[in-house]
């Protein structure tokens, strides 16, 4: 039950994109088509979960014992960068069209504040290893959910006659804001 609440909390109530406003860059950049959004979500789920696992271990078995907590940010980024490189290689091999479609946004997962955010939050919220991994998985699922929902909406409203000044990013941002408002409906779901 606790784990279900943890996942629901991370995915819906405190959705990383729509409630915490982290990871907006890929959210805007990759959500133009549902196919790329799904591909990106898979990549992020992989990176987030694995990164949380490894960074938690590094924090509690290397940083804390040697009193090196001030290296947290650098060490975490190092791990995340390596993982993203790994994911890039895998995607390039497994699905070249997806690799082309994601373009620059794939390596940008490294600087995605949502991934670093999850890693750091795990420490701040004092989760144990299992909690940390489940929290990360939930967060990644929420990220993917927001991305796919938004991509679905964008594919549709790109067809509309949008006033010149709003075309492209401006209307996407307005819509993202409204989507965030919608997700606010989840607040209070998990006490």
């Amino acid at each position: 039950m606790y784990y279900i609440l943890l996942i629901v909390g991370a995915a819906l109530v405190n959705n990383f994109v729509l409630a915490r406003f982290l990871g907006i860059c890929p959210f805007m950049g990759v959500s133009k088509s549902i196919d790329t959004a799904v591909g990106m979500s898979m990549a992020v789920i992989f990176v987030m979960t694995l990164a949380s696992f490894v960074t938690w271990l590094i924090n509690f078995y290397l940083l804390v014992p040697f009193d090196l907590q001030y290296l947290q940010t650098i060490a975490f980024i190092l791990v995340i960068a390596a993982l993203v490189q790994l994911v890039e290689m895998i995607i390039q091999r497994v699905s070249p069209p997806l690799y082309q479609a994601l373009g620059i946004y794939l390596p940008l997962i490294t600087t995605n504040c949502a991934v670093l955010g999850v890693a750091i939050l795990n420490i701040q919220l004092g989760y144990n290893l299992l909690d940390a991994c489940i929290f990360a998985a939930g967060a990644a699922l929420g990220f993917g959910l927001a991305l796919v929902i938004f991509a679905g909406m964008r594919e549709d409203f790109e067809l509309n006659t949008i006033p010149e000044a709003f075309r492209g990013t401006p209307i996407a941002l307005v819509t993202a804001g409204i989507l965030s408002l919608a997700f606010m409906g989840f607040s209070g779901l998990v006490k």
Binding site: I58, L62, L63, F66, L68, L71, I74, A75, L78, V79, A81, A82, Q85, L86, M89, I90, Q92, R93, P96, Q100
Partner: protein, 324 residues
């Protein structure tokens, strides 16, 4: 201090190990020349080459030693660069340019009915065969302008499309988009074409269009190279292979329906006539005109593409073509 160096170094080393192993396991063989070729292509993904986009064509021409240069939009420089990268000489096809074979602007033609609907020539064509009286002429709703990936066609003030000669790459998208088949690709060296494709006899055409080919046959008679065919039910056709560009047909044609590719003549603003109203600056698609309101405006000849829109729009008749 040491511990921090050791720690970060250690993590880095482990990461490098893992990545090194995966680089070998997940290696993807990609020819680096492909990217170089792709950089030389225009990137408009117009599909004229027959492939799904510039990336697909770059891939094909790199991996297949027999593949021919199918992109109509590469210029000389790009062609040389691609040939250098791939180590084989690629012949470009003779550059083509689109010409609009209809001079029947709304002012010169009659309509069968009032059309109300989407502003698309193809959509209008399916409504009782189109609103224009002449079944062969330009419908003037601008579909060719819409589909051109290089923005080389603009709808003129008179309702007829104009090809911007310096931007057209001969990709042929407009040719397939036009429901009437009015647009034809001719070699850039071929200067003359007939601005009418009507198959109506002169008598049938009279009430429909004032400027079409009347099929008098004079052009066919004067052509010393036998390059023109014309009959009672087919407008004059110039065989671009035989045409030697002597221009006799143009002077002989009584209706002026035979047109010529213009040498891109730039424009020049006559300072004495210019009132400084700034209309030319606003309409110029190449941003080649600038100036201060109420003072004579100036054309940057380097940027001018010779489209002539400013000449049309100038209320003071202050702009003219020049040979530069």
């Amino acid at each position: 201090m040491i511990s921090s160096i050791l720690l970060l170094g250690g993590i880095g080393f482990l990461a490098a190990l893992v990545l090194g192993i995966s680089a070998v396991t997940f290696a993807v063989k990609m020819d680096p020349r492909e990217q170089e070729v792709l950089d030389q292509l225009p990137g408009a993904n117009c599909g004229a080459c027959g492939y799904a986009g510039c990336a697909a064509f770059a891939h094909e021409i790199t991996v297949n030693p027999e593949a021919e240069m199918a992109c109509p939009a590469v210029n000389e420089k790009a062609l040389e660069a691609i040939s250098a990268v791939l180590g084989r000489s690629l012949g470009g096809s003779a550059p083509l340019i689109a010409c609009i074979r209809c001079k029947g602007a709304p002012a010169e033609t009659t309509n069968r009915y009032g059309y109300i609907g989407p502003k698309d020539c193809r959509a209008a064509q399916i409504v009782a065969g189109g609103p224009k009286g002449c079944q062969y002429g330009c419908l003037g709703l601008g579909t060719c302008e819409e589909v051109c990936p290089f923005e080389a066609i603009i709808m003129g003030e008179d309702g007829l499309p104009r090809v911007i000669e310096s931007l057209c790459t001969g990709c042929g998208k407009c040719v397939s988009a036009c429901p009437r088949g009015i647009i034809q690709l001719i070699p850039r060296t071929g200067n003359y074409w007939v601005g009418c494709v009507s198959k109506d006899t002169a008598k049938e055409m009279k009430p429909l269009c004032k400027v079409g080919c009347i099929k008098c046959g004079i052009c066919g008679d004067v052509c010393p190279f036998d390059a023109i065919t014309v009959s009672k039910t087919a407008s004059a056709e110039i065989d671009q292979d035989k045409c030697q560009r002597c221009g006799l047909c143009v002077s002989a044609c009584p209706t002026g329906v035979i047109s010529a590719l213009s040498v891109p003549r730039k424009v020049h603003i006559i300072a004495e006539k210019c009132k400084g109203c700034s209309i030319c600056e606003q309409v110029c698609p190449a941003e080649a005109i600038s100036g201060k309101v109420k003072e004579p405006y100036l054309v940057n000849e380097g940027k001018c593409i010779g489209c002539g829109l400013c000449i049309e729009k100038c209320p003071s008749d202050a702009i003219e073509r020049i040979i530069s």
